[in-house]
Chain length 187, copies 2
């Protein structure tokens, strides 16, 4: 059961004229409720080859490690969203330089947009949604305690690509992939 955002009447599932998908449509006022994928913006924030990770203080995946990332808000750009999340989750200021990895996760209606950038002065703390944050060398990455497959894949790409590219200076290849399961199975 669902109700109309505009008038509060119970909605009905219907395919609007000229449309090809079922929507929740209001039989009282005619309002059509579209539901679309959401963008998750985040940062691979680097400081002298180290990567900034956050240990989650919230569900899902409480206690596991992630890159700072979260839902893009209205009235911001993707880059601003990635920098805002880095500040909110890790109290770090990141200078974004390029889009690095993007993941379709159609099963849960999400698209990840992860940017590489430099963590200013290597400074960070821990925001309300993080138990702790830390800068990791490759040897110390908690591969078995990462929160999401998008994070696992991005770190794998990073450690592969940096054999070829200088992440502090170069434009590096952009990776676009689809994660076919949900966002909890590391693959």
């Amino acid at each position: 059961m669902s109700f109309c955002l505009k008038c509060g009447h119970a909605t009905e599932k219907a395919i609007p004229a000229g449309d090809s998908h079922y929507r929740e449509v209001c039989p009282n006022c005619g309002f059509i409720h579209y539901e679309n994928p959401k963008i998750i913006c985040g940062a691979l924030a680097l400081w002298k080859d180290k990567v900034l990770l956050c240990r989650r203080a919230i569900e899902p995946r409480y206690g596991l490690w992630t890159l700072p990332a979260g839902f893009m808000e209205l009235q911001e750009t993707m880059e601003q969203g990635a920098a805002r999340e880095t500040w909110e989750e890790a109290e770090g200021k990141v200078a974004i330089d390029q889009l690095y990895c993007s993941y379709n996760i159609p099963r849960i209606g999400q698209v990840y947009m992860l940017f590489k950038g430099q963590l200013e002065e290597g400074a960070f703390g821990a925001g309300e949604e993080s138990l702790e944050c830390a800068l990791f060398d490759e040897a110390d990455i908690p591969w078995d305690s990462l929160a999401f497959p998008s994070i696992y894949r991005t770190l794998k790409h990073y450690y592969h690509d940096r054999k070829t590219y200088d992440f502090a200076k170069d434009q590096v290849p952009f990776h676009l992939e689809t994660i076919s399961g949900d966002d909890t199975v590391i693959e």
Copy 2:
């Protein structure tokens, strides 16, 4: 005035605990209504250096020319969305090969994701949302009758980049830009 999707009660604007943005929150059932940017997927569908354009049969920008593009749907990838829109608007099958241009349009809560691809067999028609579709050479592009700044910019990038790259074979540079006005002023 807004109503709760879950229970139909009138909502109130409030900042939920742990959040930093105002949301429509239901005082009856507690449901929080998040509103986030939407993704518009589309294709620069090429056939022997020609570009497939559609003349819009719908508002906004009725009668003006656009690349096939539209809101990404749940349960699809961005590439599938771009191919679906090319089929729906131009009855063309496009083989997507890479993400080419992305535009933040924060003022209207949209992010464009435009992919380059090859139009299979150069075949197309005109979908319900198009008055007509056509393949254009550079000299014939209707620069003064393009629907959106995202389309104008993408075509400008294409005609610039193809001096350097073979769009049928090469990976070409990805462009990420922010359009600061709304989506009607060509800039």
